[in-house]
């Protein structure tokens, strides 16, 4: 049974640190490249942490800035001040 959660981001400068942060915080994630976009899949759960993105970016980063780069998602969303998480309850 597929439990893949997924986030697709534009493949541009703004999104690159986010993509990197996701890879760091979700070691099991698979990164798929398509023309102009990146689809990151992960089993069951995937998290974007503010702290990690800020570290890579070298500035303050509002989690809601994620919405500037997002193309698509699959999973239940939990958005907090310091993280954005996708999950399935399976």
């Amino acid at each position: 049974m597929s439990r893949i959660v997924s986030i697709t981001l534009q493949n541009n400068d703004d999104a690159r640190p986010i993509i990197e942060a996701i890879e760091k915080d979700n070691p099991d994630a698979t990164v798929n490249l398509y023309p102009a976009m990146v689809k990151i899949d992960c089993d069951g759960r995937l998290i974007v942490k503010q702290e990690t993105v800020e570290g890579l970016l070298g500035r303050e980063w509002d989690v809601q800035e994620l919405h500037l780069s997002i193309v698509s998602i699959a999973g239940n969303v939990d958005e907090e001040d310091d993280y954005f998480e996708l999950s399935w309850n399976i």
Partner: protein, 505 residues
């Protein structure tokens, strides 16, 4: 004075204070009169406070992020126009996908804007109302940015000049139009199930993601940019779609069968409409990213599989006929292209026979079906065309009473027989293209008998006249330019001229 310690508010708490607290139960007027439409569908809501906000954007943040997106997008649109970006696309055939998009999809964005405005007033819960209003204005954004992006193409190519007029009249555009009319004329909960859940959550990835990726691959930076920019709103819309489903299912178990029936219906209606997208992907993009079949596997089978496994805890089953739709993914893009190849004299975009390498690509992507059923027919039509006998079908097709697609799809287990169903209602016979469409008709015949079926309307003389050219004029087609075969079209001649100049330079 001692330093006052201020409580820091978390995003959820702050949002709830700034938004959810705004509403009140009216007493000078009864609530049922203020919100007359949110309970006739049979959905039982015990506690509107149980609504989980799918996202928590206050208006200040909304304006900030959205204006930033708009600034970037319009900078790209401006430079695309200034630099004649249309010359950078792979091939002028590509523009036909844009034509179908502007006439078929962009008007849906407008319909979505108005639909979400309606439900954004009609729900009695503050949470869903605000989420719907934000989506309403987002959707207005989508239609306007699409019109602005494609404005440049309209200056150089045919078939893009009259989208709103055509959307209200042209036979194949009644497929998307009736889809949205159907959703908008339903109650507010069904509307959200159809558009936010079935269309945006389950199916929209199939429309936008491969299409925009395809645009990038074909050098169309304007479309990539508006597409991705619109998609960045879509994550919010998708979350709303999933939230409304969970909300209904959690409120009362009597809601479950209603929601299930809506899912079945809108899944089927959605896949029917997306046939047009499948055709765009497999036939209209000169450089292809993935086949319709592959997109279906990634975005429906895989993503949808996890989603419906997640919803199983509420007793929800995957949509009825999902198995048939998956079988269809091997066929429908080819069958749809065949329909449009037949009737391209009555369409505002061109069709053509794919080139040899393109046919080979299709053979590779559809090993079980393409060579067996579709390639020989295309090669035959190609020969006919080269011999000066380009085939056009002059007999108006019969349309499905529900999805309004010409009855050209076959039985999936026997791809040589046209699938054909019918129902009786008040002494009349109504035809449908599939089990899925027949079920939809049978549940609500009083609705679907109202359908404005283009072919019926032509026969009844409501479309400008009895002859095909009269009808096409009524559609506002520039005959010989907007319609007919791509080879020899003004689009093609001009494109070749540009290419010749480019070579000289």
């Amino acid at each position: 004075m001692a330093e006052k310690r201020k409580k820091k508010l978390g995003i959820k708490q702050r949002y709830s204070m700034l938004t959810r607290g705004l509403g009140w139960d009216t007493t000078y007027q009864p609530m049922d009169k203020v919100f007359p439409y949110d309970n006739y569908e049979g959905i039982i809501i015990h506690d509107w406070e149980g609504w989980e906000d799918p996202f928590r954007l206050t208006m200040d943040a909304y304006w900030k992020f959205q204006s930033e997106k708009e600034k970037k997008l319009y900078a790209v649109i401006d430079s695309f126009a200034q630099n004649n970006g249309h010359l950078g696309i792979t091939d002028a055939r590509y523009v036909n996908a844009i034509k179908l998009f502007l006439t078929g999809v962009s008007p849906l964005e407008y319909q979505a804007a108005r639909g979400f405005t309606h439900v954004g007033r009609q729900f009695r819960g503050v949470g869903p109302r605000v989420a719907c209003q934000m989506q309403a204005i987002d959707e207005l954004r989508h239609v306007q940015t699409q019109i602005h992006s494609m404005s440049h193409y309209n200056k150089f190519f045919d078939g893009l000049h009259s989208a709103p007029h055509m959307h209200d009249r042209v036979w194949y555009l009644s497929v998307p139009k009736s889809f949205f009319d159907d959703a908008r004329t339903a109650g507010p909960f069904e509307f959200l199930t159809s558009i936010s859940f079935a269309f945006e959550y389950v199916l929209t990835n199939l429309l936008f993601v491969p299409f925009m990726s395809g645009a990038a691959f074909n050098g169309d930076m304007a479309t990539v940019t508006f597409g991705f920019s619109a998609q960045s709103d879509e994550a919010r819309h998708m979350t709303l779609g999933l939230e409304v489903i969970k909300f209904m299912l959690e409120q009362d178990e009597r809601n479950i069968p209603i929601v299930q029936r809506w899912m079945d219906k809108w899944f089927w209606r959605g896949t029917r409409m997306l046939t047009l997208v499948g055709m765009m992907m497999d036939y209209m993009l000169p450089k292809r990213v993935m086949s319709w079949r592959e997109a279906w596997d990634i975005y429906f089978t895989e993503a949808g599989g996890a989603l419906f496994a997640d919803l199983a805890r509420y007793g929800i089953k995957p949509p009825k006929y999902a198995d048939i739709a998956t079988k269809e993914a091997e066929h429908i893009s080819h069958q749809a292209w065949n329909i449009f190849y037949n009737y391209t004299h009555a369409a505002a975009f061109h069709t053509w026979i794919p080139e040899k390498e393109e046919l080979d690509w299709l053979s590779e992507k559809y090993p079980d079906t393409f060579d067996k059923y579709y390639r020989p027919r295309l090669e035959y039509l190609d020969k006919e065309e080269k011999a000066g006998r380009r085939f056009y079908n002059d007999i108006l097709p019969m349309l499905c009473q529900v999805c309004q697609i010409p009855m050209g799809f076959t039985d999936m287990d026997d791809p040589t027989t046209i699938s054909f169903h019918s129902s009786e209602y008040q002494g009349n016979k109504y035809h449908t293209c599939s089990h899925g469409c027949k079920d939809i008709f049978d549940y609500e015949p009083e609705k679907y008998v109202q359908a404005w079926l283009p072919v019926h309307q032509i026969y009844q003389g409501n479309c400008g006249g009895a002859e095909v050219p009269d009808v096409l004029k009524w559609y506002n087609f520039n005959l010989g330019a907007d319609n007919m075969e791509y080879q020899g079209s003004p689009d093609q001649k001009l494109w070749d001229e540009w290419q010749a100049h480019r070579k000289k330079a």
